[in-house]
């Protein structure tokens, strides 16, 4: 596992990181890759408090902010998402974080390869959908794109289920997977499954995806992705990723960011 994951990242930069410690126990959801039945979920607890972010921009001031950014913060990466009125961030935790030099949205979190991608209800042709309905639609959309890209004619319907991570009640999370009809290669490694964890925040869908080899256990992947997703917080104003990056670079970042995921 470790060797092949490293092979997937021939072009990765490496990082200094904190010494590894035992991760906090996080119960992984049952894998939808084994076509678990979809069960309704209970309403979640109250929303976690928003975290103060450096240098928020005044609402009436023209801003030049990236819509998405992945910032190294020592305990992993802070993924920032600015999409108009919808702004949120989450921590991608790792004791040994690495990042692709070819795509900032591709990271290696303690040997688990994760690619983050964002889309919107409008982009997938369902502008009115929100919440779980949007996530189910996005799953079908992404599976169809994947099938056509790979030339698969007989892709089994993707299977998924909602999971409860203690986020705000208006933020829905969907764990799902694709079983490819034939192995395919990612950077020279044969994989045959992809595990996804998607979240809908208003009309925005952020998806964490991780490819799996036939022999890989999806539970550690699910654990990493759910730990990251659990750290998602809305922000009351756009997040100045450049200011956050500079603050992190100076070693002065608010410890509240890493506290979202606990010690790693």
């Amino acid at each position: 596992m470790r060797g092949s994951r490293r092979y997937l990242f021939l072009l990765l930069a490496t990082a200094c990181a904190r010494p590894a410690a035992a991760p906090p126990p996080v119960a992984p959801p049952p894998s939808p890759l084994t076509t678990a039945p979809v069960a309704p979920i209970a309403p979640g607890p109250a929303a976690p408090p928003a975290v103060a972010l450096p240098a928020p921009q005044a609402a009436n001031t023209p801003v030049e902010l990236p819509s998405s950014a992945t910032i190294f913060i020592g305990c992993g990466f802070l993924r920032v998402e600015n999409h108009g009125a919808t702004t949120f961030s989450l921590v991608l935790p790792a004791a040994k974080p690495q990042q692709s030099k070819m795509n900032p949205s591709v990271v290696l979190l303690d040997d688990v390869l994760i690619q983050a991608a964002v889309t919107s209800a409008a982009e997938i042709g369902a502008p009115a959908l929100r919440g779980q309905d949007l996530l189910v639609q996005q799953m079908s959309w992404e599976a169809e794109r994947m099938a056509k890209r790979r030339g698969w004619k007989n892709l089994p319907p993707p299977a998924g289920q909602p999971i409860e991570l203690g986020l705000s009640r208006d933020i829905k999370v969907w764990f799902w997977g694709l079983d490819a009809p034939e192995p395919f290669e990612i950077d020279g490694v044969k994989v045959n499954r992809v595990a996804y964890l998607s979240v809908a925040v208003d009309d925005v869908v952020l998806t964490l995806a991780s490819p799996l080899r036939p022999e890989d256990d999806p539970d550690p992947v699910a654990r990493v992705m759910s730990r990251a997703m659990r750290s998602l917080r809305r922000s009351p104003s756009p997040i100045d990723a450049f200011a956050v990056q500079e603050t992190a670079m100076a070693g002065k970042l608010d410890p509240a960011f890493c506290a979202r995921v606990g010690p790693s």
């Binding site: 801003v63 990236p66 409008a122 794109r145 994947m146 756009p238 450049f242």
Partner: protein, 123 residues
Amino acid sequence: MSKLAVAFDLPQTEPVETELPGNPLATELAAQMAGLGISVSDVDMHEGYGWAWLATCEDATHYIVLAPFRDGEPGLWLLRFEPQFGLAARLKAARYRAAEAKLKEIIDRLLRATSGVTNVEWE
């Protein structure tokens, strides 16, 4: 007005049934950027979401994704930008911000000068 991404219209020249159109347009945009002195990578597919390349302007690198089918319709496009900070980022925020602003100005000019492109709108 914030400038998170730029939307524009350009009639799709590839067959409508092409699953992920935009490679020629992305390649052309990247080539034009290179012609203006910006260091660019090859264009590659960003999974099913679009076509992507890296552009380095004033020491700051951005990952650019050209997404087809904005609003589910062919001929409507969206360009997204993501800074590539890396793990050893050295630039101050002001430098990144200035570089991104310049990159977006260049892309805005390129799009407006491209035959057939209409409704260039930053959103």
